[in-house]
C-alpha cells in the first residue's frame, strides 16, 4: 500500500512535467498550426544545458534559470530562421523540417556530451528525503511537483489574465480574427514558439536530477507530449494537466508491478481513452 502511494506521488511529479511538455507543445502547435517534432529535442537540450551550466557555474539554481532561457533563445532562432518561412507550406514540409531539426539537435547532443547516459545529482539543499508518515519521500521530487505546479499556474495566469495571453488564446481559436484586430501575428507566433520552447527547456532541466540524461530522452518525451495534446486538446490547459497526471500516474503505478511495460502503458492508456472518447478527454476537435 505504501509502495503504491509512493508511486502515485512519483506519478504526480512526472505527470506535472508531462503537463508542462504538453502545454508548451500545445502553445506552439495551436498558435502556429505546425506539428513540432523538435519539441522533445528542446526538452533534451534543456536537460543537457542544465548539466553544463551547473558544471561551469557550480550552482543548480543558476542552471535552472539559465538553461530554459537558453532553450527559449534556441526556439527564437528556430522560429526566425526556419519555421517562419514554412507557414504557407503543408504540414508535411513543416513536419520534415522540425523532424530534421530534432535529428540535428539529437546528434549534436551526442557530439557535445557523448552517447553515454549521464546522471545528475539534485542540489545539496534538495538531497535526501522527508518523512511523509506513510513513506520516506525524496525532497527533490516534492520540489519538482511544486515547481511544475507553479509554472502551470503562471502559464494559466498569463493566458487568462493578461491581454497578450488572451490574444494568444484567440490565436489558437481563430487566426483570422487576430489578424483582423490589427495584431502583429508574426510577433505572436515568435513569442508562442519561444514560450513553448521555454516550457520544454525547464521541464528538461527539472527532469535531469530525477531520471538522468541520455540522448534518447528527447524522442521518448516527444511521444509523451503528443499523447498529452491528443488527450487534452490543443490550447486546453486543464486538459493538459488532466492528461499529464493520468499518464504519469498510470506509468508510475504500472512500473511498480511490471517495470518493462511502464513506457508502453502511456501509449496504451491513450489508445484506451481514444477508444472510448475519440475526441479526447474533453471532447475537443
Amino acid at each position: 500500500m505504501n509502495l503504491l502511494l509512493g508511486q502515485i506521488l512519483n506519478g504526480i511529479a512526472t505527470g506535472m512535467l508531462y503537463a508542462l511538455m504538453g502545454l508548451g507543445l500545445s502553445l506552439i502547435t495551436g498558435v502556429l498550426n505546425i506539428p513540432n517534432f523538435a519539441h522533445g529535442a528542446l526538452f533534451a537540450v534543456g536537460a543537457y544545458l542544465l548539466v553544463s551550466v551547473v558544471g561551469v557555474l557550480g550552482n543548480f539554481w543558476l542552471g535552472l534559470i539559465v538553461a530554459p532561457i537558453g532553450v527559449a533563445l534556441l526556439g527564437l532562432v528556430i522560429e526566425w530562421a526556419g519555421v517562419r518561412r514554412l507557414y504557407a507550406a503543408g504540414h508535411d514540409y513543416q513536419l520534415l523540417f522540425t523532424f530534421g531539426l530534432a535529428l540535428i539537435l539529437n546528434e549534436l547532443i551526442i557530439v557535445i556530451w557523448g552517447p553515454v547516459g549521464i546522471s545528475h545529482l539534485p542540489p545539496a539543499l534538495l538531497r535526501g528525503g522527508v518523512d511523509l508518515g506513510f513513506t520516506f519521500y525524496p525532497k527533490y521530487r516534492l520540489f519538482v511537483m511544486g515547481m511544475a505546479g507553479a509554472l502551470v499556474v503562471l502559464t494559466w495566469l498569463f493566458l487568462e489574465k493578461t491581454k497578450y495571453g488572451a490574444i494568444m488564446r484567440a490565436g489558437i481559436e481563430n487566426k483570422e480574427m487576430v489578424s483582423l484586430l490589427g495584431i502583429d501575428i508574426q510577433m505572436l507566433f515568435t513569442v508562442a514558439f519561444a514560450l513553448g520552447a521555454y516550457l520544454a527547456g525547464i521541464a528538461g532541466a527539472l527532469t535531469a536530477p530525477i531520471r538522468g540524461l541520455s540522448p534518447g530522452m528527447g524522442v521518448d518525451m516527444l511521444g509523451i507530449a503528443f499523447v498529452v495534446v491528443a488527450l487534452g486538446g490543443l490550447g486546453n490547459l486543464l486538459g493538459a494537466i488532466a492528461a499529464g497526471l493520468l499518464i504519469g500516474v498510470a506509468q508510475a503505478v504500472v512500473a511498480a508491478y511490471w517495470t518493462e511495460a511502464s513506457t508502453a502503458v502511456i501509449f496504451a492508456v491513450m489508445a484506451a481513452v481514444l477508444l472510448v472518447r475519440p475526441q479526447g478527454l474533453f471532447g475537443i476537435r
Binding site: 502547435t29 526556419g82 513543416q94 535529428l103 540535428i104
Partner: protein, 307 residues
C-alpha cells in the same frame, strides 16, 4: 508505357551500379513509399507512424519463418495480413481525428509498438534485434543467392506497382483524392469519409507489411529500428523528395534516399546529423521534390532554347 520501360531498365541496370543488397533495399523501400504515398499524396493523410506496420509485419513473419519454417508465400501473406491488421487497429483510432492530431496520433501509436518490441525481448530480441531469419526457396528455386533474391524482389515490386496503379486509377482512388481535395464536399456528396480513410490506411498497411517481410528476409534480421520512428520519418522524407504528387515519385525518392544514406552512413557514425541537415535543406530550398525540380529545370532549359 514509357515509364514502365524506364523502370524495367532501371531494375536491370541497378545491380551493375550498386551492391545487390542495396539494389534490393531500393525496391523494398519503393514499395514502402508507394504505401505511404497512397495516404500522403492521394488521400492527404500524413502518417508519421508507417514503420508500425512495416516493423510488425517483419517481426511476425520473421518469427514464423525462424521458428516454424513457413514457406515464402505464407511469409508474404502473413506480412501483408499483419500490416493490414495493425493498420486497422491504429487507423481506427486515428481517422476520427484530422490534421495535426492525426499526425501526432500516428506517431504516438508508433511509439506504443516500438516500446512493446523494445521490451518484449524474448520474442523480438529487444535492442539486439531478431536475427536468424531464413530465406526459403520459391517453388523449389533457391533465392539465397543475392541476385536471385533481387530478381524476386523486383518482381514483387512490379506487382505492387501494378496493384497500386489499379487502386489509384480506380473509382476508389478517385474517391480518396476527392477526400484530399475537399473532405466536407466528399462527405456531402455521399461518401462516408472516415470509412474510406480507414480503407486507405489498411491498404497502405498491407503494402508496408509486404515491404517489411522482404526487408527481414533481405538482411536475415529484424533490427529494432525497423519499427522505430526514424524509419517512419525516412519514408516520409523519401516520398517528399520524390514528390508526393505522382505515383512514381516515391520510387525516385527511394533511389535518392537509400543511395544517399548508404553512401553517407558508411562514412560517419553521426550521419543522422547529415540526414537532418538534408531534411532542412530540402524543406527550405527544394520543396516540391525532385520530380518538380526536374520539371522546373526542363521548362527553364527549353525556355532558354526557344528564347
Amino acid at each position: 508505357m514509357r515509364t514502365l520501360l524506364l523502370i524495367v531498365i532501371s531494375i536491370l541496370l541497378l545491380p551493375l551500379v550498386v551492391r545487390p543488397a542495396i539494389a534490393s533495399e531500393i525496391w523494398i523501400f519503393a514499395i514502402f513509399g508507394l504505401a505511404l504515398n497512397l495516404l500522403l499524396g492521394y488521400t492527404g493523410m500524413l502518417s508519421f507512424g508507417q514503420s508500425t506496420f512495416f516493423g510488425s509485419a517483419a517481426y511476425v513473419a520473421g518469427w514464423l519463418l525462424k521458428h516454424y519454417g513457413i514457406n515464402v508465400f505464407a511469409a508474404l501473406g502473413v506480412g501483408v495480413g499483419v500490416g493490414a491488421l495493425s493498420a486497422l487497429l491504429v487507423g481506427y483510432l486515428c481517422v476520427q481525428r484530422s490534421g495535426l492530431y492525426f499526425i501526432m496520433l500516428t506517431f504516438a501509436l508508433n511509439q506504443l509498438f516500438y516500446f512493446i518490441a523494445y521490451q518484449w525481448t524474448s520474442v523480438t530480441g529487444g535492442e539486439d534485434g531478431m536475427p536468424g531469419i531464413p530465406r526459403p526457396s520459391v517453388l523449389g528455386l533457391s533465392i539465397q543467392e543475392s541476385y536471385w533474391y533481387y530478381a524476386f524482389i523486383s518482381l514483387l515490386f512490379l506487382l505492387s506497382l501494378w496493384a497500386m496503379k489499379r487502386i489509384v486509377e480506380s473509382p476508389l482512388g478517385k474517391i480518396l483524392q476527392a477526400i484530399r481535395e475537399n473532405e466536407v464536399r466528399a462527405e456531402a456528396v455521399g461518401y462516408d469519409v472516415p470509412r474510406f480513410k480507414l480503407l486507405a490506411f489498411v491498404i497502405a498497411g498491407a503494402f508496408s507489411g509486404l515491404a517489411g517481410v522482404l526487408y527481414a528476409m533481405l538482411f536475415g534480421i529484424v533490427p529494432l529500428e525497423a519499427i522505430g520512428f526514424v524509419v517512419s520519418g525516412n519514408v516520409v522524407f523519401a516520398t517528399l523528395i520524390g514528390g508526393s504528387g505522382s505515383l512514381y515519385g516515391p520510387i525516385i525518392g527511394s533511389f535518392v534516399f537509400i543511395w544517399l544514406s548508404e553512401s553517407v552512413s558508411t562514412m560517419w557514425a553521426r550521419w543522422p546529423l547529415l540526414l537532418g541537415v538534408a531534411f532542412v535543406i530540402v524543406v527550405l530550398f527544394l520543396r516540391g521534390g525532385v520530380v518538380e525540380a526536374w520539371t522546373r529545370f526542363w521548362t527553364w532549359r527549353s525556355s532558354k532554347q526557344t528564347g
